[in-house]
Amino acid sequence: MKAVVLAGGRSLERGVSLRSGARVEDALRALGHDVVHIDPGAELVKQLKEAKPDVAFLALHGPGGEDGTVQELLAILGIPFTGPGVAACVRCMDKVVAKHELRAAGLPTPDWIAFNSTAFRELGAADALEEIEARLGFPLVVKPARGGSSLGVEFAADRDAVPEALVAAFSYDDRVLLERYVRGRELAVGILDAEPLPLVEAIPKQEDFFNFEARYEIGRTEYACPAELDEAETRAVQEVAARTYEVLGCAGFARVDLILGDDGPQVLEVNAIPGLTDTSLLPQAAEAAGMSFEELCGRIVELALERPREPAAAG
């Protein structure tokens, strides 16, 4: 079978994407497929038409690749692709949209307030900061609405830290959310074909607790897989993750990030195309479930081929 692996792209997560893509290419070759790598740019459509692949494996992260843009093109060209369709990408990419969907479906996600920069620049939203802070409490977390890894995510310990955190978050997107900070265990649930995999827990070192970047640096955060949770807790977390996957319309695979606090699991975000590098969490979870990386990639491709084609520009 002929597969194109799409990796790279123009997003800030280009580096991670290239590492995911290289690993997927090796796996698909080991499975006996004919593999072509495409780094999406101005020639993408031309390259896809020339390659005439049976399937496109998307190892793109961040805006452009994970937000439905490339998926829309593949749908028009009639090329089956891995991961979710356009609508689910749109819902997962924007944390604010995802949180609204989750709330509407009765799934737990921390309280939040979202603004675009116009609200501060032109509508005097800063005058409402006091009310916002009263509602969310401190510390709070400031995040760009769209964006992956930890880019632009900041803790604000107190009031004085809020403006600087907002300036940082607005560097990555024109819309940001202020979110209630939930203290608890940081969990990632990989989902494959709607079924949750074993849980992964991120255990940051004490001094890096408020440093999100450390979550992505080798050696600065420890990961436990499967996470040491009792059976009931594990089931509760997996159930919320699986329902989240369903509500957002994910397909093939995804990773749901949650916090397990005193009031149970709270969903933080969903990665429609989670990282597939050798330090990424979903492959670790698959391995804990007894599935090699090759088997994981093979299964993701099968799921892409089984899925009914999405009508182009459905949304």
């Binding site: 501060f120 620049r121 900061l129 300036v167």
Partner: protein, 424 residues
């Protein structure tokens, strides 16, 4: 940040992030003539291994370059290295044991940071001002270290047209630094890639010349005066240190490229090397002028920057609520890049500064690049002000709503009064 730097190389990005000299004006005819001569007259030798210390002919070229700045090293004290970067690595390999203190400027050369880190040095920064490293602060750091019973293995400095700070160590401070080295019996590593790229003002004596080579280890490179592609640099060190450096060099790569050493010898034999450096200085001077004028026009009054008399870089500092690593993400959406200041420190400081390169882009690109960076800074300044003084900012900017608010004027008639910043 590593990932952010990965996308600065996109062709549509105006990158003021690099440190690239302009190699486009080197005459291809000279290049061809040199290589032809090498092929015809020295083919077998140029394709062979060479001595670990480098060829004598290369050392003569090095001596010519150093003489142009008033230095006269013994050829036996010179080793030819694979670029100036290897010279830094070899010095660290020779002198640093894990935990040893290294003193350097803050900011320091971003390429030295991973070297210091990989040899597990305890790196201490000394602040700079317009006259380079603050020698008073250096002395108090040395005193503090002495009370702990510690002394640095060496003081690493780029005294002329500092990368990234753009400033130059004054004559008086140079003399004082050399005195301190003598008094305290400390080694100074003088890294001088840019000394001959002076656009104006008087040449200052290198530390090596002032000291005579007793306490100063000197690092040089052909990268900025000829070509970085030939990967040729050098180190001048007293015999006991040199012996160890030679051992380190043997372990690393046996010898520096013989082919490019032949190329350098041909270039110097042609006799126009000085002319070529002068032509580079002319190009870079115009580009620096374009950058300084663009900064004046497009950066908001809250920003300040250095005004280099040579070299390749300007160092700009923004209000402390702007983190330039975050700002780079925003700048990249506008297809422009710079180096965030944190890359020039080992301790996470410098996060509100940025390094801007003027040698690797033409004047139009520089103007456009600075305009785009200025716009994203102005947007963040405006946002911060709206967040911190909501009532005041909306009152003082009637009708300011709109995309152009707070930005420098784009059209000549659209003048916004801007307070002059204090030039440091």
């Amino acid at each position: 940040m590593r990932d952010l730097m990965a996308i600065t190389a996109r062709p549509e990005v105006i990158s003021l992030a690099g440190g690239l000299p302009d190699t486009s004006t080197f005459p291809p005819s000279s290049f061809a003539a040199h290589m032809t001569r090498i092929a015809q007259e020295s083919s077998a030798q140029a394709l062979q291994y060479g001595p670990t210390e480098g060829f004598d002919r290369t050392k003569e070229c090095i001596r010519a370059l150093m003489a142009a700045e008033g230095m006269d090293p013994d050829p036996d004290d010179i080793i030819v290295t694979t670029g100036g970067q290897q010279a830094i690595d070899l010095v660290c390999k020779t002198l640093i044991d894990p935990g040893d203190v290294v003193v350097c400027e803050g900011p320091t050369y971003p390429g030295a940071v991973p070297v210091f880190c990989s040899y597990e040095a305890d790196t201490r920064h000394v602040e700079m001002d317009d006259d380079g490293m603050r020698i008073d602060l250096l002395e108090s750091l040395l005193d503090d270290l002495a009370t702990e019973g510690r002394r640095p293995k060496f003081i690493y400095t780029v005294p002329s047209f500092h990368n990234p700070a753009g400033v130059t160590l004054s004559a008086e401070r140079r003399r004082r630094l050399v005195e301190i080295a003598r008094e305290r019996e400390l080694l100074v590593v003088e890294d001088n890639p840019y000394g001959l790229l002076r656009f104006e003002g008087e040449t200052l004596p290198p530390l090596y010349q002032l000291d005579g080579g007793d306490y100063v280890i000197y690092l040089g490179t052909f990268s900025k005066v000829l070509s970085p592609g030939i990967r040729l640099g050098w180190c001048v060190a007293p015999p006991p240190v040199m012996d160890k450096i030679v051992l380190g060099k043997q372990a690393a790569d046996l010898c520096t490229s013989t082919l490019t050493q032949y190329f350098v010898a041909e270039h110097f034999a042609e006799g126009r090397w000085r002319e070529y450096i002068d032509s580079l200085c002319g190009i870079y001077r115009s580009r620096r002028d374009a950058m300084l004028a663009a900064l004046e026009r497009h950066f908001p009054p809250q920003a300040e920057w250095t005004e280099p008399a040579g070299g390749l870089f300007v160092w700009a500092t923004l209000p402390d609520y702007i983190d330039t690593s975050d700002l780079l993400a925003k700048a990249l959406r506008e297809n422009v890049a710079f180096v965030p200041g944190a890359a020039a420190h080992v301790d996470g400081s410098g996060s509100s500064s940025m390094r801007l390169n003027f040698s690797g882009s033409d004047e139009d690109e520089i103007r456009e690049g600075i305009r785009r960076i200025g716009d994203v800074i102005s947007e963040q300044v405006e946002l911060y002000e709206a967040l911190t003084m909501p009532a005041a900012s909306s009152a003082s900017r009637p009708g300011a709503a709109g995309s152009g608010a707070g930005r420098a004027p784009d059209r000549p008639g659209d003048v916004v009064p801007m307070p002059r910043r204090d030039q440091r």
